[in-house]
């Protein structure tokens, strides 16, 4: 069993949901970023979703855009991101690590090289925000060859054909997109229908995890009740990172938020 399979089976046997916080690697600098990610794990993160900073993040709202800009301004390169991942992996052997990137970063490094670097650093999965199912074949092949799970996104109101294909092809977990728009907390997450969740079960899909706009413990409970196996919280987490790095709030505020979100998943 790989790390995701172990995590989801352990969570299932305990009757828990999985809580996955997202942060941008290198935000605001590599050393602080490592300290933050370390704290996420120590305060209850079941898995990690780590974004590579990119100059043109079209799927992201202002909070995550700013985080990427902070990392880029600090001179963070892909090499630095892989180095942070390696350090996290060294410290936490069992936690699943997912990467969130944009296609150009993968192509600039070379598709095969990128996935091999991810594997070597200790990552488990990669989600490419601007590679939809239609364009995913070469990426899926390269990921598989490197032993990386390529995660695909399924919008809640996707057509049946897309549901079947994404269910069949997403590896590691399946990213259920809770709503339209870009990442951010200004719009609340929607919830999947009972039919969709049953459909995914029947199709033997990887565990569905809900993301986009998940920012409160109540939303975590609602998502799990609707049948999601976990949730990803991005902008709400990254906003607290920003509050810390701009001196508006102590790091403990971020960590207590992580504990509350994990508690809600129990």
């Amino acid at each position: 069993m790989n790390r995701y399979q172990k995590l989801f089976s352990r969570a299932e046997s305990k009757g828990e949901g999985v809580f996955i916080p997202f942060v941008v690697l290198g935000d605001p600098d590599p050393a602080t970023s490592f300290k933050i990610i370390e704290g996420l794990v120590e305060n209850g993160a079941d898995a990690l979703e780590l974004g590579f900073p990119f100059s043109d993040p079209i799927a992201d709202g202002p909070v995550i855009q700013r985080a990427g800009q902070r990392a880029l301004a600090a001179g963070v390169r892909q090499e630095d991101c892989f180095r942070i991942i390696k350090k996290i992996r060294k410290k936490f052997a069992g936690i699943p690590i997912g990467l969130l990137v944009y296609a150009n970063l993968v192509l600039a490094r070379g598709m095969a090289v990128f996935f091999r670097s991810a594997k070597k650093a200790g990552a488990d999965s990669v989600l490419i925000a601007d590679v939809p199912l239609l364009e995913s074949a070469p990426f899926r092949r390269a990921a598989e060859q490197a032993g990386i799970d390529l995660v695909l996104v399924l919008p809640l109101h996707a057509g049946r054909e897309t549901v079947i294909k994404v269910a069949g092809k997403s590896r590691g977990y399946l990213y259920l997109l809770s709503r339209k728009g870009v990442t951010g907390v200004d719009q609340e997450a929607g919830l999947p229908s009972r039919d969709l969740m049953q459909d995914l079960k029947n199709l033997n899909a990887a565990p569905p995890v809900l993301g986009f706009g998940v920012s409160t413990p109540e939303q975590v409970c609602a998502a799990l009740e609707a049948g999601c196996r976990g949730v990803i919280s991005g902008s709400a987490v990254v906003q607290r990172v920003e509050d810390y790095v701009t001196g508006k709030a102590p790091l403990e505020d971020l960590f207590s938020f992580i504990r509350k979100m994990k508690d809600a998943a129990r």
């Binding site: 043109d56 892909q78 150009n104 939809p132 919008p155 996707a158 339209k180």
Partner: protein, 394 residues
């Protein structure tokens, strides 16, 4: 779904590199566009708009004084005379009409020089649609007259402050808007770039330039041109005038990129000559970027060429060698800008001045007489303040 769907790819380039969420919106747009191309009522409506409203056909002008003393001839396709002041109106009307047929009442667009924003505002005003235009704050500063024009035409202009605050960031922001609004909103992308079906659709709506020019040139010269020359930012005016000549291998197709302060200065927008393969704004193409895959900031005196990528078909035409791509610097473009004004009484857009500058260079270098077709894609009124400042400095 229709059976014979066009490929989203031009060789290695193109595709639909967007978040999964936007795929259904693009497929819906593709279907609507393909249907419109078989719909004679749609075509008639668009044709009426182009002829009775926008001023098509535009003339072909032989330069009489610019080439005095030499036997070469330069013909200008006068898209500067199109309503709105640039070729952009052709396809803004096409897409806005399509959006109306699709039942979408809100139109979003990005703009660099402001020409596409103005064209969008015009198309939306005449067709009764709501226009929202994203524009980088740097461009808002350097293209003030167009900002006021858009507002006067009833469009809402939203400033974009991220990054270098030019066209690239404006497109990012428009894409983000569309991810949340696609059910009621059409994204009226301004150039032959972006995800499929935009490159195909924009080319189709701009091909009217080449179709007219080909006929006009034949009538004037009794033969096709030696070369067709157009400036390339995203590449819509160039692909529009190239399209009818693509199969005529005797006609050289030359795209002129903005070399800014020089092709080796790092301050330019020569994505084809200096870019690497990658993905930006939904398409695989040639892109100015660093070794890590971060997109570079581009530079040009002309805001309309200031874009670090290029439409995928141009990347393909470059790779196959069917078209050639060259660079013209800010300074060379300014010279051509003045020359055309003084010799022919036509003030060109700084973008189009790049194409003209290369034509003049060809004429100068050539030992045999050339017959050249230059796409004068826009007029220079919007550039007056900027040009005045730049010329005072020189």
């Amino acid at each position: 779904m229709l059976k014979k769907n066009p490929s989203p790819y031009y060789g290695n380039f193109g595709g639909m590199f967007v978040p999964e969420l936007l795929v259904p919106a693009l497929l819906q747009l593709e279907q609507a566009f393909l249907k419109s191309q078989k719909d004679s009522a749609f075509k008639a409506q668009l044709n009426t708009l182009l002829t009775t409203y926008a001023g098509r056909p535009t003339p072909l002008t032989l330069c009489h004084n610019l080439t005095a003393g030499v036997t070469s001839r330069i013909y200008l396709k006068r898209e500067d005379l199109l309503h709105g002041g640039a070729h952009k109106t052709n396809q803004a009307l096409g897409q806005a009409l399509l959006a109306k047929h699709m039942g979408k009442r809100r139109i979003i667009a990005e703009t660099g020089a402001g020409q596409h924003g103005v064209a969008t505002a015009i198309a939306c005003a005449v067709l009764g649609l709501k226009a929202v235009v994203y524009m980088g704050v740097k461009d808002i500063k350097r293209q003030q007259p167009n900002v006021f024009r858009m507002k006067l035409l009833g469009a809402e202009v939203i400033p974009v402050t991220a990054g270098a605050a030019t066209l690239k960031e404006a497109i990012n922001q428009a894409l983000r808007d569309w991810a949340g609004s696609y059910e009621t909103t059409h994204y009226l992308l301004g150039t032959a770039a972006g995800p499929h079906p935009y490159p195909l659709m924009v080319k189709t709506f701009q091909t009217v330039i080449g179709v007219e020019a080909k006929k006009q040139f034949l009538k004037a010269e009794g033969r096709p041109p030696d070369a067709v020359i157009a400036c390339v930012g995203g590449g819509s005016n160039a692909i529009g005038i190239f399209a009818p000549f693509l199969n005529n291998k005797d006609v050289r197709l030359i795209g002129v990129e903005a070399a800014g302060k020089g092709l080796d200065s790092g301050l330019h927008c020569a994505s084809i000559q200096k870019g690497k393969e990658g993905v930006l704004h939904g398409a695989r193409s040639l892109i100015l970027q660093d070794r890590d895959g971060q997109i570079s900031d581009s530079h040009s005196i002309s805001a309309g060429l200031d874009y670090p990528a290029v439409g995928p078909e141009h990347a393909h035409l470059h790779q196959t060698g069917r078209a050639e791509y060259v660079g013209i610097t800010d300074r060379q473009a300014l010279e051509a800008f003045q020359l055309l004004s003084q010799k022919e009484g036509i003030i060109p857009a700084l973008e189009s001045a790049h194409a003209l500058a290369h034509a003049l260079r060809m004429v100068k270098k050539s030992r045999k007489p050339l017959r050249l077709l230059v796409n004068l894609s826009g007029r220079g009124d919007k550039d007056l303040t900027l040009a005045e400042k730049a010329l005072r400095k020189n």
